[in-house]
Symmetry: C2
Subunit: 216 residues, 2 copies
């Protein structure tokens, strides 16, 4: 009996959080209404306050859950013992994959990064930061080694990381505007999107692969 009640409670709380994710992702922090969250969760508005106390707090809960997922997926599953080209392709595949699957989420953060930069950065838990720094350290060491071994040309690891992330990610923010400004047809847009992952990976690899004695 107690078990059943507990499950039901947890279930409603989870329903509310799920609904909050959908609403905040669709409308941003300012655009989301507590009533909208309640409606989507199928509960009374007061219950949202009962579980989450305020709009700020439920927003923070949404940010925590999703930002963690996004960062974890973008830093995970890269085998640093592989050849440099393979690492680049793994990164690009991971990034574009997770963003394409979570377009809304990603665009949400692109907006909120600018509206509440401190809130977002401070919201990153210490453990997640540590974990991400560890992955970056691996990347940095591997790139430095690749430069030394003439796998790739000389490049600063952090600049390379910025380049990779920019190419993987910015497409999902800017493509609508650029397609509109260049007058690109819907069919052409689709073709561009389908080829995007390979194009980006080729582009990065061409940019960094070692080409002999001239040093650059």
């Amino acid at each position: 009996m107690a078990q059943t009640e507990e499950n039901e409670n947890q279930e409603k709380e989870a329903q509310i959080l799920d609904a909050a994710c959908s609403e905040f992702l669709a409308h941003g922090k300012n655009g989301t209404r507590m009533q909208g969250i309640a409606d989507r969760a199928g509960v009374n508005k007061a219950l949202v306050f009962y579980y989450f106390h305020s709009k700020d707090l439920i927003f923070q809960a949404v940010v925590d859950r999703n930002f963690r997922m996004l960062i974890e997926t973008m830093t995970m599953n890269v085998d640093f013992t592989a050849p440099a080209e393979s690492i680049i392709r793994q990164f690009t595949h991971n990034h574009i994959g997770v963003i394409a699957k979570n377009r809304e989420l990603f665009q949400f953060f692109s907006g909120e990064i600018w509206m509440n930069p401190e809130e977002l950065i401070n919201g990153i838990s210490v453990s997640l930061k540590k974990q991400t720094k560890a992955v970056y350290s691996g990347f940095e060491a591997r790139i430095a080694a690749a430069v030394q071994k003439h796998e790739i040309r000389s490049i600063q690891p952090l600049q390379l990381l910025l380049n990779i992330v920019s190419l993987d990610v910015f497409y999902f923010i800017a493509a609508p505007i650029i397609f509109s400004l260049t007058g690109t047809s819907a069919a052409e847009q689709k073709r561009i999107a389908q080829k995007r992952e390979d194009e980006v990976a080729d582009f990065i690899w061409n940019a960094i692969k070692y080409e002999g004695g001239n040093g650059i």
Copy 2:
């Protein structure tokens, strides 16, 4: 007398629009208060409505003014008769220059693109669209010619444009988060920023320059 009055009137209207730019850029559309605009302009709130009628309309006025400036600067002043490498460097220089000088403005649009995509895209005037399309046609033709002449390797012009814009622009959105996640010191951040323009131009050129008979 009539002259003086007219000047004063125009002056107040201009003050209000200037104030609106600052407020919308700082707080976004939803975050901006009509009272805040009035305060910053040093006028009464009712006067803001007298000149601009509604929040939507003054927002549109702000978007029109700034978006036009941004797009014009980003597409201007590129000499398509120059060598391909020089064109790449001109583009990168223009983009990074205008964004660095208008960080706030640019980040504002990155946020609003997602909140109100139609409003932004529809807000682009027909003449500006035409002008931008013409520049893009020049770019497209020049890239196609460069491929044929073996100045650069084979690449779709639109993919290349997306790559250039991504590399030039995304740094200004993502750098804070990436620096935070990688634990980059302030001094190192400064060094990265100073070298960014050259790094990006080199990266792009290395990625596309022609390297002999293997075709890619």
